[in-house]
Structure formats: structure tokens, C-alpha cells
Subunit: 335 residues, 4 copies
């Protein structure tokens, strides 16, 4: 159950409400986000909502039978729109396209990528400066200095930045330089990281775990929301299955299911979803017509020379063609 509190609720009123629902057999957890105040009440006993509805300080009450509450569509039907400023949004109307390299490598690469994005009216650039690598001997990214350089070049060109944060200690240093924090598939259930991102006033995109369920992804988003941050984006990026003909199995089903379960925007990552360069466009198109609010994919001026993920990265020609087709596909399903 979600109890929306009035903006001007005072602590005595809040205390009375908590006591009342405790008496009804519910545990409650106060949540204050950038936008609003809530009490999330957990319990199973049936009761007549009117018995608490009259209490001072309550704006509205919603029953949410799901394990996740605040991210559920059962209390908030209108889609959440993430506003990155300068007219750039994710969710609501329009298809948000985000593209860029797996790893940020050097100034020239950043410049060429920005030029490619600007030419195609793509306002958000992806790229990693902290890279989670399964082997300790692999390239681990340029770090915060790479991010600062990227930020400087991106801002000059009106480009927004989405980049992965791997640990709590990186949040503060990254904060001024990113427009969206990305939580990677290996950190979907790094609950401390999620808690800390809940205290930040910047959007967070959470990737589904490597073999995470749809409900686990929603519960991870609930962590961030209940810790105070409503600016959330969900990302389907393929799951681990027995099939080895592709790097992951893109769970196309997850897109309409997530859209039906949650009010949060849903982005698809076809690069990791299939992991094979030549088929990335088909998967990106498929995700778009399945209802995704955005597509994030890897592109590089010379994929065969990329520091990482070259096998699933489009070159700029392929990327330009894909952008046109994505927009056409998105328009098609608006009718």
C-alpha cells in the first residue's frame, strides 16, 4: 500500500498515520523523494481504506499487491518522463536514442563520436570510464579524468552523458559530469550502490541482471526510489540462457511486460542483447516496435580497433542507417 502524503504534512500528522497503520498490522516505511513524500506500508490484512483515508496529511492511498510498490503502475498510471534538460527526455513521447562506444578511449574518439551524434540529432552519448571486466588483467577504463574530458567536449556540443557507476565511492566524483548514472548488469543487486544512488538528484538507468528476473529488476528500482530518487529508467539487455549462438538472449518479452508493470521508461540495449554486430539493427528495430522508450547501443569509428566489445559495435555508417530506421519504426507504431 502506498500512502501519498500532502506536501505540507507535519511530523505529528505523519506519526499519527504510522500509528494507525501499525495498529492495523502493517509495517510502514517513510519515503521522501525529490518530488513527494510517501508511506510505503507492507502487510497482508484486508481493511477498509476509508478507516484511514480521512486522516490529516494524506493526499491519496493506493493498494499495490506487487512486491515492489513505488515503481508499480498500479498506483501511478501516467508514464514517468525523465527530463535531462535542454528538451532532452526519456519516456513519454518520442524514442530516446543513446549511442557511443563501449569504452571511452581518447579525445579523438570522443570528438568523432560527438560529431556523428550531432549529425544525426542524437542528444545522448553512452560510454564507459569505469569498466567491469571479468578478468583482472583486462582494460579497466580511463577513470574520472576520462569522464571530465568527455564532459567538456560533450557540453560544448549539447550532448548529454550516460555512464556506468560501479561503486559507491565513484558517485560523488562522477556526479557533476554525468546526466544519467548507469547501473550495470553485474551491479543490479548491489544494494548498497542502489541505496546511495537513491540519495542523488540525477537519473539512474538500471540494467537487468545477467540472469535477473523482471521482478528483481523492478525491486532494484524500488531500492533507489524508496531511498529518495524517482528518476529511474529500466534497461533490458539480454539474459543468460543455454543458447550460445548469441552472447545473450535478448528478452523481447520483457519490454511489453515491464511497460505494463511499471510507470518507468524502458530502454533496450541490442548490442549486449545479441552481441553480434551484423544483427544489432534487427534487434534494435524489434525492441522499438515492442514498445521500448529508448534504444542504447554501441558505435565506434572503427569497431575492429575498439578497446572492448568491438564484435558488437556498429560503425558510424551502420549507426546512421539504424537511427533513420528506428525513427521510422517508432513512428509506425504511434498510429
Amino acid at each position: 500500500m502506498i500512502i501519498e502524503l500532502k506536501p505540507n504534512v507535519d511530523s505529528n500528522q505523519q506519526q499519527s498515520i504510522i500509528e494507525k497503520i501499525t495498529a492495523l498490522g502493517y509495517k510502514s516505511m517513510p519515503v521522501a523523494t525529490q518530488r513527494s513524500k510517501y508511506l510505503v506500508a507492507i502487510g497482508k490484512k484486508e481493511f477498509d481504506i476509508r478507516t484511514i483515508g480521512h486522516l490529516s496529511g494524506i493526499a491519496d492511498i493506493h493498494r499495490v499487491p506487487d512486491e515492489y510498490k513505488l515503481v508499480s503502475k498500479k498506483w501511478k498510471v501516467a508514464p514517468t518522463v525523465i527530463d535531462l534538460g535542454d528538451g532532452v527526455t526519456i519516456g513519454g513521447n518520442g524514442l530516446a536514442i543513446m549511442a557511443g562506444p563501449c569504452s571511452i578511449e581518447n579525445e579523438k574518439q570522443i570528438e568523432q563520436t560527438i560529431q556523428h551524434l550531432v549529425a544525426n540529432q542524437v542528444p545522448i552519448m553512452r560510454g564507459g570510464v569505469f569498466k567491469p571486466r571479468s578478468s583482472p588483467y583486462a582494460f579497466r577504463g580511463l577513470g574520472i579524468d576520462g569522464l571530465k574530458l568527455w564532459y567538456e567536449l560533450a557540453r560544448k556540443n549539447g550532448i548529454k552523458i550516460i555512464s556506468e557507476v560501479m561503486q559507491v565511492s565513484q558517485i560523488e566524483s562522477m556526479l557533476p559530469y554525468v546526466d544519467v548514472f548507469q547501473v550495470g548488469a553485474r551491479n543490479t543487486q548491489n544494494f548498497n550502490l542502489l541505496d546511495e544512488l537513491g540519495k542523488v538528484d540525477k537519473p539512474v538507468m538500471i540494467k537487468r541482471g545477467i540472469s535477473g528476473t523482471i521482478d528483481e529488476l523492478l525491486s532494484s528500482a524500488e531500492y533507489v526510489f524508496s531511498a529518495g530518487n524517482e528518476k529511474l529508467i529500466l534497461c533490458e539487455r539480454g539474459i543468460r540462457t543455454y543458447e550460445k549462438a548469441s552472447r545473450n538472449t535478448m528478452d523481447i518479452n520483457a519490454i511489453p511486460i515491464l511497460k505494463a508493470k511499471s510507470h518507468l521508461p524502458v530502454v533496450a540495449d541490442p548490442s549486449h542483447g545479441i552481441g553480434i554486430r551484423e544483427y544489432v539493427p534487427q534487434v534494435a528495430l524489434a525492441a522499438t516496435v515492442a514498445g521500448a522508450d529508448g534504444i542504447i547501443y554501441e558505435t565506434h569509428q572503427k569497431p575492429e580497433e575498439a578497446f572492448s566489445d568491438g564484435q558488437q559495435t556498429l560503425d558510424f555508417d551502420e549507426s546512421s542507417r539504424l537511427i533513420k530506421r528506428l525513427r521510422a519504426a517508432y513512428n509506425l507504431i504511434q498510429d
Copy 2:
């Protein structure tokens, strides 16, 4: 290695070729289909193709390193088109739409479905008369009498029939009444059934196994082809994974991968692929823009009263809307 033989090859010539490639360390298997004669040669030794290329009776030679040979795109680049007569085709140009109930139930249901298909210019009707059921106590279908009734009504209206064959003994009795035999997901590796379908001059659509790999599906098609039947269609219908929010996980990746590996047409089954009625259209659209040659889905005049699979079956209104959108999506990607 595939050695295409000339149509007029005589048995002495064929014997000479076999002896030559046996001497080179290859095992060979003669294959005679409705269209052509081949020798499939299995071996690993490298040799100069010209040393056999001059032999009488050989039309062409193709190296195929895949485990499957005759279904591979490495020797036959042009897409295979399945011709059902009366201008109805699967593969090549155009999107083949096949729709109908999970189970054939009675005359009225057949008539209503046919009327719905005719109204939407859909020339192929699906339906089961032999139903594989995991419990022995569930409805197992109307059997051959249901098929005959269906055939009579379909033929009057110019509708083609695709229906599942579950065992060798059904092939002969079904043969006059189906236009495409369907091999179900539980029979993908029923090798005796595949062998027998190789002797039949009717198209066969093979569904991917419940947790079958892409390569296993191609090897199952190779069984039918090498037993003599080239008229093959592959079908992606979702795979079994840990995710239980949907009935199966539609492997959208499989569509471009199968199209790249094989010359056979690829059909997608969104009804089983996600298993939830309200999301079937999104998955169907996704499969279409991912490159499928056809879509097969379940529709019923009253899904909530269907004998089986009602939870994933569209009603006729939903079906009509979907057909229009599928055609628009297909046209979009032709540009």
C-alpha cells in the same frame, strides 16, 4: 561438402564419384529429393576440389563447414520459397500470415475462423487435431475426422491448412488434408518422425525444441532434407529459461541468426513465444521487423472459451488489427 549431381547422372557415374571421395577419406551419403540429387560428403581432410570436379555426373561442389549441410546458406544463397499453390507462398517476398485456434473444436468454430481469415486476406489457417499434452488426462484433439471436416470447409474458401503431426502413423492419413505438416516443439528431435517426413512431398514446418539450440533446429531440418524433402520451414516459438513472467522466452535473436545460417524460410510464433494474450501483438511486430518470413499465431472467436491456450489467443478484433500492423511493419523494412 555437398556434391550436386546432374539430373541425368547414372548409377555408374555416381558409384565412381563415391569411390573417389571415399579414397579421399570422406564418408558419403546419397540424397535424392523431389528436386535434385546430391552426395553429402562428411570428412575433414583438405583437398583440391578440382581433383573431383571433372568427374562425369557432377553439376557443382560446395564446401559447407557447418554440421548441417543441405540446409546451410553456405551452398545455396538464394532463399527457399515454399509454394502451397494458388499463389500462396512462404519465404521469398511477402509476409506469410497463418492464424487460427490452438485446437480445432467443431464445425462452427472452423467456419467462423475461416470467415475471419478470408475477410483479412489471410490464406493459411493453423489448428491442431492431434494435441500433445503433458498430462494424459487433458483434451487430446478431434483427430483425423476433425481434420477432414476442416479440410472440406477450408478448400471451399481457398484456405490452406497447417497442422501438427505427432507420430509416424499419422502421416499417411493426414497427407491428403494438410498443406503443411507442423512438427511440434516436443518432436523436434523425434528423428524417426523427421526421417518419415523426408519421404513425403508436402512442406514441413519444424518448430524449435522447448530448449533446443539454433544448431539443433537446423540439424533437425537436415534430417528431413537428407531423407528427401526440401520443402522446409523453420519456426522460432520461444525457449525455456529461468524467467517465469512469460510462458517462454521469445528468442528474437534467433530470427536474424537463422536467416543468416540457412536458406530456409523462418516463421515466428509469438503466441507460444510469450504466452500472454495482451502482449502477443508486440512480439509479432518485433519478429516481423527482425526479419521473419511469416508469423503464426492463435486466434479464436471467444478465447476465454477455447479448449486450450485461451490465455495466449487473440480474439478476431485483435487479430484483424494485428494483421494490418504486421503488413505495415513488413513494408517498412523493405525500404
Copy 3:
């Protein structure tokens, strides 16, 4: 619900019972096996069992809420013992060991294997004469002649035979020469084959499907039982997962779970369960202490020359050592 009928029930009595439970909202299916007569009643309505308990012809009534009924432990608590004659049993007391090659290859191989089994007091030999192979170009077994030869040599030495049946048409020809029919992992849901094996008076061992659930295995056994054959054995042989360090993932959990759900004996196949020769003994021991009633594994006089599965086949020395350890492990858990 399972209604056990008295052995001398007459058709009028049976009809009265059926009418009574139909009136109560249940569907019923009469089952006559080699041992007994039953009515399996499917329905959900609660009622007082005493309202039918008094009817003539009824021996006993058991509620079974599982989807499978006759194979459930909820009505038959005592373990089923499969008697192969000459004191050879599977289930109940003692560990049934079954060993032999993947494929029956020739007379010498059969003789050497029998000699090895006799020397170790192992009374059941496994071996395939019809081999399901994913590629149509692989060795498909010696067929019925191989089985006859094997039978002759086995009988002389008091050895019982378990061998895979792949299709309905093989049942009759194999019947005189096998002691246990094996249904392979690709045929677990070949329902026609299961139905036909229900009409046979020989034990049947059903392997779990390649990615079959525990409940599906039990439902497959229900097919055979409800078609008339109670002599059933379940076999865990590993499942398909994302992990590729082993051929399959041996589901050790399935052993205690199957033993708790069903009265049927449970056999483990460590050769397919891990697929790597050097680790087969550890997995076999693990399955034994987890509660398996039997172990079936592959052994060959020269595994490196075996026609198939050599990489997971023990030589005779390894096999002899394993047999001793299995018996010690089995004795350990009897205390």
C-alpha cells in the same frame, strides 16, 4: 482422486461409480494395469469421500492434489519394486547398478562387457542399438539384429538388458529381447510412444527430458501408467543450463525430490549428467548418497575407440573401482 477398484468389480458397478462422480462434477478415466483397476477422477470440487466410499466395487479412495496421480506417493506410500526375474530388482532395497557401452558395436565388445559385469556381480547391461543422433550423418546403431545377438550372449550369462526404444514401430520387435525399455531424453514427451509402452508388460525407464521439469517427468510416467503399465522407473540424467564446463548439469536435487513425490524407483545417469569421464565416479557417488535406487553408466573396453560417447565412458578398471565404492556408499546411508 484415485479410486482403486476391487479386482472382481463388474461393469455395472463401475458404471455406477462413474455416474456418481460425474454427478459430483468430476471427469473420470478408467485405468486397467497388469496389477489392478482404477478410476482416475479429475476435478476440483470438495466433497465428503464417504458419499461414494460405500459404493460396491470400490476398494479404496485417495485424494491426490498433484497433476500426476497414479505415480504420486500421496496414494501409494510403499516404494515400487521392479522385478526383472532371477532375483534382479530395481527399487526397494539394494542399489541397482546398470553398466555397458553407449552403443552396441559387435560380438566381441558384448562378450567383453558381459565378462566385466559378471566379474563384478552386476546383473544388468545397458547399450543402444537404436541411437538418436542430432546429425543424420552420424552412426545410428546396429538395430534389431544387434539386439538379438546381444540377447543371446546376455541370457547365457544371466545378464538382463536395458535398451532404448525410439519409436512405436520398434516396440514389438524389441519386446522379446529386452528386460527394460528405456525412453531417451529426446522422447520423454513423445506421448504416442508413452501410450504404446503402457500396453506392454515389460518395465520402462523414462529419462528426464533435456530441459524437462521434474513435474513433466512425472506426468510422462503418468502417461504410461494410465495406459496400463505400472512397471516404471524414473531417471535423472542432467539438464541443459547455461553452464558449459560440463555436458549437462546433473540435477542432484531431483533425486530426493522425485523420491518424495513418487513411489517409483529413481535411477541416476552420471555419464550424461556430467559428460566428462574423469568426474563420472564422483557424480555417481553423489547420486547414491542422495538416495538413488540405481546408477546407470557407460563403460567400454577401450573408451577412446567407442563409436559414441567415449569422452564420458569409463574403462573396465575404472568401472570395477566405481562399483565397489558405490556399494560402500549405498551401505553407508542405510544406517
Copy 4:
């Protein structure tokens, strides 16, 4: 390639070695652990080891073709033994048993558990004070105060402590109070946490990821080792599969495979491996005879009242019985 350096190697010598192997086309990474100094060299070029073997400062050179190096058995054949002091060890000879509740709850619970362990000569107690929970509204553990209380009671009774560390910031505060840090299944690829644990002089047990591969587990151990900490233990705790009859699928195969690939001790967690109380003993026994060096499981004075995981927790009577059987099973396979 692992180059073991002499204990007294000086920086000039080390520099010369690095230059030489760089010239050979290898990248190198110096590793200094509590025990030894190494250069890990990554590259693919073949060369004669003798061309560098003579350099001053080199103790030994080992080729390791695996992606992980320092945890591989290919350079260190002797099993690693983790010494917790007071004669308590994990690995080498003997079966290490670790038991205790899922969550540390209160003083009385700790005392009762310790009493149970002492009575059974079990010297290591498990328990969580920081609990990773998929829902933000679930109990998250007593925190560091709970650990201090536990430590005090444990030390009085000669009991060692293993407990989960969830994030970098907890390491320092937990350090004085744990004997083994546990990395949970959701943190197996939390690379920052692994890096930091590499700087600590306390043993670390890494659980396999929820759907982690065997190779990923070894690479995660490589992270800790290459950051300086050799005191590592691997833990198999079941993987996520399509089968839902058990909480996870215990990968019994992983035990012999990990033992063959790595010199590190391998512990099995049957409580999470199957997740059903009544079958935990069978799975524990299975893991023991499959070659595990230790068993970690959940026990509680009243499982039905446990704060978490009660459904998979043994009571003390069941636990006492299991301990006896585990020791008997371990002895059996020593022969």
C-alpha cells in the same frame, strides 16, 4: 604465464624481467601477496621459457593457458590450506563444517547456536549481519553491533566466524571480528569489493554468482589473489535454472571440476543449493562424496521462527545427525 619471483628480488631485477617479457610481446602485472611475489604475464606468443629462465630474481616459471592464472592448478598442484588458527583449517585434509543461522538475530540465538556447535565439535559458525535482500522493505540485518556481540561470545567458546561483507566500506569495520569474509552470490562480480578484499590479510570465501559460470568464479578469485590475498575459498551454492521445484539447482558437477581446475579449497552450500529443509542433508552428503573440502549450511534453534531462510534451515537435532553422517561420508571416500 606466472613468473614466481625470489623473496629477495630487488626492483632492478624485477624491472629487467618486465622489460624482457614486454619485448617478447607480453603484458605483465606484478603481484605481491602475503606469501610471495609474482609477475603475471598475459600474451599468446610461443617462446622458449629458457630464454628468460636464467634472469636473476626468478624462482620459477609456469605456463597457464587458462584465463585465470594464479588460482589455477596448472602452476600450483598442491592444495591450498586456509589456516584460521587454533588448529582450524579449510582445505587439505579433513572436512570443514560451518553452520549457523541465515541472520544473526540476538544474544540468545548466538549462545544456543554456539552451544550446539561446541557439542558437535564444529569450530566455525556462519551468520549474516548485513543481509542482501531483493526487496528494500525486508530485514537487513543487525549490522556491526550484532557482529561485535557475536564475536565476543564466539571467542569465549573457541568458535571461528564467517560472515558476509556486502560493500567496501564494511571491510575495515568487520575486519577485527571475522575469521573469514564471505562474498555473496550477488557480489561475485562486484570487482571493486574483490579488489579491496585483495588488500586484506584475512581469508575470503567467494560464492558462485546466481548464474555465474565456473570460469567466472575462478576469475573472481583471481581478482582477489592478484590484488594481494592468497587466502581464498570457492563456494558452490546452486545456480539459477528453469527448474522451479527447488530454489536453485545445486551444481554437483562444479565440485570435481573446480577441484581439478584450481588449487583452492571448495566448499558446498546445500541450504541454498536446494532451498528445502528436508532435502538439505542428502545434498550435503552428495557434495561431500563429490569431493568438497567443506560444507556450510543453515541451522537455527527454531527454523520456523527464523528471521530469514527458515524454509531451508535445519533444527539442531537434524544438524547433529547431519554432522555425524557428513564425517562418515568424508571418511568413506578417503580410502
